[in-house]
């Protein structure tokens, strides 16, 4: 997947949801690739902070260097510090240049925002960790009932009950079945 198309998708996300943080952008891109099969070609691995790809950070940095987006420091309502990614005047030209590719995946971006747009960065870390593990468990044919404990081992600040609830919600929304 070439850089311009990846920047096109990043631009579309920022256009649709200005003010997104860096962590949320990382997790949205994971979701687009894993759930909605947008062929972005990033390689995600699991860390204590959920699925992460250094290539995504490179592309966000490049978009900033090229003045396609701006990134401001902010303080969230929960007191945590973070970032706000905003569109710039140049963003529209990227959207136009990559309009064909974006059009193919416009619905995927919109669906991601609709399903996850009200979640904060901490919650997105948990949800994407659940999805990553679900996909890995399915691929390896491991017992699915072990997922909540494994998620808890990676994200020990979330209790098993919360993890089970989120797993159930993702299942009910039909998201998990798309993550295979």
């Amino acid at each position: 997947m070439d850089l311009k198309k990846r920047l096109g998708i990043i631009s579309r996300i920022v256009h649709q949801q200005p003010g997104l943080g860096k962590t949320a952008m990382m997790k949205y891109i994971f979701l687009l690739q894993k759930i909605y099969k947008v062929p972005l070609g990033y390689n995600f691995e699991i860390y204590t902070y959920g699925p992460y790809s250094s290539e995504v950070m490179e592309d966000i940095d490049f978009a900033k260097q090229q003045s396609i987006i701006s990134i401001d420091r902010i303080v969230y309502p929960n007191g945590l510090k973070g970032y706000s990614i905003e569109p710039t005047e140049k963003l529209d030209s990227i959207l136009e240049q990559e309009s064909q590719f974006i059009a193919q995946y416009k619905e995927a971006v919109d669906s991601t925002i609709e399903a996850f747009g009200d979640r904060n960065a901490k919650e997105l870390e948990l949800l994407t960790t659940i999805i990553y593990l679900y996909s890995t468990y399915r691929a390896n044919d491991w017992p699915m009932d072990e997922i909540p404990l494994n998620v808890h081992e990676i994200k020990p600040h979330f209790d098993i009950k919360t993890i089970r609830e989120e797993l159930h919600n993702l299942d009910t929304q039909g998201i998990l079945k798309l993550a295979v």
């Binding site: 850089l3 690739q33 902070y49 490179e58 260097q65 960065a121 691929a139 390896n140 494994n150 990676i154």
Partner: protein, 377 residues
């Protein structure tokens, strides 16, 4: 070719990475054992076991590299349908990490599992093995030491390459880096990750500058880059001439893959199995770089250099347009995490030099075969 003193191998690098990872681990445990215990339930009995797992992962992290390292990565086969990393519509290849994991699981399993507690999967999990259950946070956090912004791999190869190449860049204060290693909480989510203490942020800055200099002056040197291409093409010919469809055996045929090392490929080149590019390597008559774009080329620049390459091709002149900068294995990872009062912020918040740096250049270079370099103009 470019740096005649650079005869060091991955073996000594691997030992260096093991030592670096051990020193970093010890430094962090010394100062943050309580935090790791409170946040991730890291108990004292696990520390010595984890230290051994990390040392093994560091020692073996590169064991799957193809002959001549990264230049062989495009000769690894495509992931088959059904593979855990396969994505419909995308052509993804196996990576050297896949081979490392397979070699550890086969060749080294019996040796590793002579330890009463450690399983081979504990080691491969730190190398990104997607066929083993992700380990608990108190172990997975150390993955950053093996493949992260501050990993022991890059910390070692910068100094090692600099020394063997005989260049004066790539240098930073190794002992100070180790002593400033710590963990902190990420700003947006409070998840723990490895970082450098705030008092060492100038050191982090010097590390990024060292990476940048080695990248631009050494790893991306125009002659070094074209030999990557010649090695790739010559090795592809060798593999074809040996009836292997131009790609290495996959990790599922690991004993066949292990038959290929630098010496085997060198011998094949001497036998003429590398065809035209093999001869170029033996005779040191590499393609010459005739044109290049700026580090971040405009669309016009890109179009111009691509049109020039097309001109050469139309005239039957062999050329190579190197546009792999953006997909290179090398990562600047400039935003090293800096920890202050247990919280993390990126280095670019502290350093205006780092803030202004591009993550990586995206230049294109046009190379043309030597005997005919003047004919396309």
């Amino acid at each position: 070719m470019v740096y005649p003193g650079a005869n060091h191998t991955r073996f000594e690098h691997s030992i260096g990475v093991m030592q670096m990872a051990s020193d970093m681990f010890d430094s962090i445990i010394t100062k943050k054992q309580n935090l790791l215990s409170d946040e991730l339930s890291l108990d004292t009995s696990s520390i010595q076991v984890y230290r051994k797992i990390i040392r093994l992962a560091a020692l073996l992290h590169d064991v799957g590299h193809a002959p001549f390292s990264h230049s062989g990565e495009d000769l690894m086969p495509l992931l088959p349908k059904g593979h855990i990393g396969y994505v419909e519509g995308q052509e993804k290849r196996y990576e050297h990490e896949d081979y490392s994991i397979e070699i550890i699981k086969t060749v080294f399993k019996n040796i590793i599992e002579q330890h009463p507690i450690i399983k081979v999967e504990d080691v491969t999990a730190l190398l990104g093995d997607k066929t083993v259950r992700p380990p608990k946070a108190s172990l997975i956090i150390w993955k950053d030491l093996i493949s992260g912004q501050l990993d022991a791999d890059r910390a070692d190869y910068l100094l090692r390459d600099s020394k063997h190449l005989g260049v004066s860049y790539g240098l930073y204060d190794r002992d100070r880096l180790v002593s400033c290693m710590t963990v902190g909480k990420m700003e947006e989510t409070e998840a723990l990750r490895l970082a450098i203490e705030e008092k060492g942020w100038h050191l982090a800055e010097s590390l990024v500058i060292a990476r940048y200099q080695m990248f631009s002056q050494v790893y991306f040197h125009r002659v070094r880059r074209i030999y990557d291409y010649h090695i790739y093409r010559a090795t592809k010919s060798v593999l074809e001439n040996k009836g292997l469809c131009g790609v290495y055996p996959s990790p599922t045929q690991i004993s066949d893959y292990l038959k290929f090392d630098d010496w085997a490929i060198n011998a094949a080149l001497q036998e003429g199995l590398g065809d035209m590019h093999g001869a170029i390597i033996i005779n040191r008559k590499h393609f010459k770089c005739l044109e290049k774009t700026s580090d971040n080329p405009s669309e016009d620049e890109e179009a111009q250099i691509k049109a020039r390459a097309q001109d050469y091709e139309n005239q039957g002149i062999e050329c190579y347009l190197d546009d792999k900068a953006s997909t290179s294995w090398y990562r600047l990872d400039k935003d090293i995490a800096i920890e202050e009062h247990n919280n993390i912020q990126p280095l670019s918040e502290k350093s205006s030099i780092v803030k202004a740096m591009n993550e990586k250049p995206r230049l294109l270079r046009l190379y043309v075969e030597r005997a005919r370099e003047g004919r396309g103009r």
